[in-house]
Symmetry: C2
């Protein structure tokens, strides 16, 4: 689907709700609707979508040069030096239309400022619902991001050795992501070894991995503005029988959950498949998060794959399946693949082995 | 200053305004006030600061293990599996106090949800004003982050060669940041070569740097939760006389601006020093952004160092000084140092040379 079709999709979504236009400020949504380069956390552009689908992208001098070559669905409007984009927007908007805004991305302070100038109301998930069903072009880009991710872990594996620090392991993984073509990282790389494995967001530190340590490695590439996301738990030395059993349980939970994915099955049901297997091995109480999440321009998107989501998965959803067990003071284990939901099944984008890897 | 003193500072700030407590959800502010590990973009914790300075940090099972060892200024409250932190907060708050919230970090949607339960009002910069004046411990941590940054570029330099792609250059820089101890990166690494140098947020791509290309390299370490930030423009081959002249102009603008920094001078005045030098060389129209910004837990904090800031810089501000020229279709050049404002002068944390480096 090209960017103009996506803008048309937004327009039909807002028209159904009796809204006349939209003020879009989130860099992820601006990338989705226009193709403007996505830089995480880089706010400052405003996309105004008006009645009939006219679109204007307001950018500063700073961003102008980069945007003109990439945006094909909106007129580019350059602000003067020091002019605020909101001041320029006031000059563009004619009359007093009702304008939708991104209530989950716009801060409370910015909402006050735009409410003072325009009649606004929340978009209530119109863009999120469009974005959670990926079109074939988006799936191809995510597949490439995951291909980079798989090649990076394969290549890094040749350089990992018992006794390396978490920081050194992260350095190898990220170096290879870049060398395989990642334009940046999808999120903060997690390398959490031994007892630190129970920190699901464990930033790499100086701890050295050895003596059978389980090391949770969770990292991703960004490519073409889209994310990949994978987790493997590698062993630095031969693990204990207890840890091996836990690994096999997580692996089975992960594989059975992946096999249960297809269009029409709820996120809750897929979560329950994994959770049931871990409960059957007395590990259920150590699985303290949901099973997965959608992935796209952001690494966490809809749909939720967990107990809270009673809605059916749909073809075109791209989701993670990532059960884990975290035994406080002892170890953490997580295995995560990226999966495309299809009408009668699923396609796993992650090709790297789920078998136990001992370094 | 320890975390308890910071919470006391917040409490005295809100008491002056007649507010009874605060709901803090931004991970940067939670890190500042409690020491809880900072993971960029990781929302989900709530810090409740009540009357008299009592503090409770509400975390999920997922985050509990990591938080108990690091937080020394708040009671830790663990939610039940699937319980929302806001539901737990309702059980903690007694009576109907007036509670401050972070209006620039809280989304419009979250503000609606908290307003439905509590009497809330914006904190209006109380935490930003505390955070923009760093205490000696914070400055020491930022100095270490910049030390890692300097060592990484020095080490990477030995491996850079004409003909390398922007991605390969980024891989070297980031690998060495990790190996020198960066727990993560302060922001998305920029490597923008030749005509791509005019993209101030240019993500590294497949373009190869050679034949005298100017390559803008802007990258930073995160260490102890704090950021460094530096830019150098390296030349891959000998540049043209025109580009050399522009480099010398940016370098002089940068050095004169740094020398003008001291407590009491406005951000606008320091910006004007650099801008005046570039205007004197007919390059003023190519300097399309402000001169700098504060750096701390976030890479962009207060104070602003630019035409919009007529307030005096204060001792303890940590700021960037980063003039640049961007000639569309041709080249970009930027030089950036990290500087601590002192009462009668400044201290430059960046030690890497500003002299022209030709690879």
């Amino acid at each position: 689907m090209d960017h103009k079709q996506r803008i048309a999709g937004l327009v039909s979504g807002i028209e159904e709700r009796g809204i006349d236009g939209a003020i879009i400020t989130g860099p992820e949504n601006i990338h989705y609707l226009t193709g403007a380069p996505f830089v995480r956390g880089s706010y400052g552009k405003i996309l105004f979508v008006g009645i009939g689908g006219t679109a204007s992208l307001i950018v500063s001098d700073l961003d102008y040069q980069e945007v003109i070559g990439t945006v094909d669905s909106a007129e580019i409007v350059k602000t003067d030096f020091m002019e605020k984009p909101l001041d320029r927007l006031k000059k563009i908007v004619k009359g007093t239309p009702r304008l939708g805004f991104e209530e989950d991305l716009v801060s409370a302070a910015l909402k006050e400022r735009i409410s003072a100038e325009f009649r606004v109301e929340p978009l209530r998930g119109i863009l999120e619902r469009m974005r959670e069903r990926k079109d074939p072009e988006e799936i191809a880009v995510i597949e490439m991001a995951q291909f980079i991710n798989d090649r990076a872990i394969e290549k890094a594996l040749g350089n990992l050795k018992a006794g390396m620090s978490e920081l050194e392991i992260a350095a190898e993984l990220e170096y290879n992501l870049r060398m395989k073509g990642a334009e940046t990282f999808a999120f903060e790389t997690i390398v959490a070894s031994g007892p630190r494995g129970v920190y699901p967001h464990g930033m790499p530190g100086t701890r050295r991995a050895s003596s059978g340590d389980a090391v949770v490695i969770d990292f991703g590439a960004r490519y073409g503005g889209y994310c990949s996301d994978m987790t493997r738990t590698l062993f630095f030395g031969d693990p204990s029988a207890e840890v091996k059993r836990a690994y096999e349980a997580v692996k089975e939970a992960q594989e059975r959950a992946v096999e249960s994915v297809k269009g029409g099955v709820t996120g809750r049901k897929v979560d329950a498949v994994a959770r049931g297997i871990l409960e059957g091995r007395d590990l259920g109480k150590f699985f303290v998060h949901g099973l997965g999440h959608g992935v796209g321009i952001e690494v966490h998107e809809f749909p939720v794959v967990g107990p809270s989501n009673g809605s059916p998965l749909a073809p075109g959803n791209v989701i993670t399946i990532e059960p884990g067990v975290y035994v406080p003071g002892r170890y953490g284990i997580r295995i995560e693949d990226l999966v495309v939901v299809e009408k009668d099944g699923r396609r796993t984008l992650t090709k790297f082995t789920r078998e136990m890897v001992v370094i």
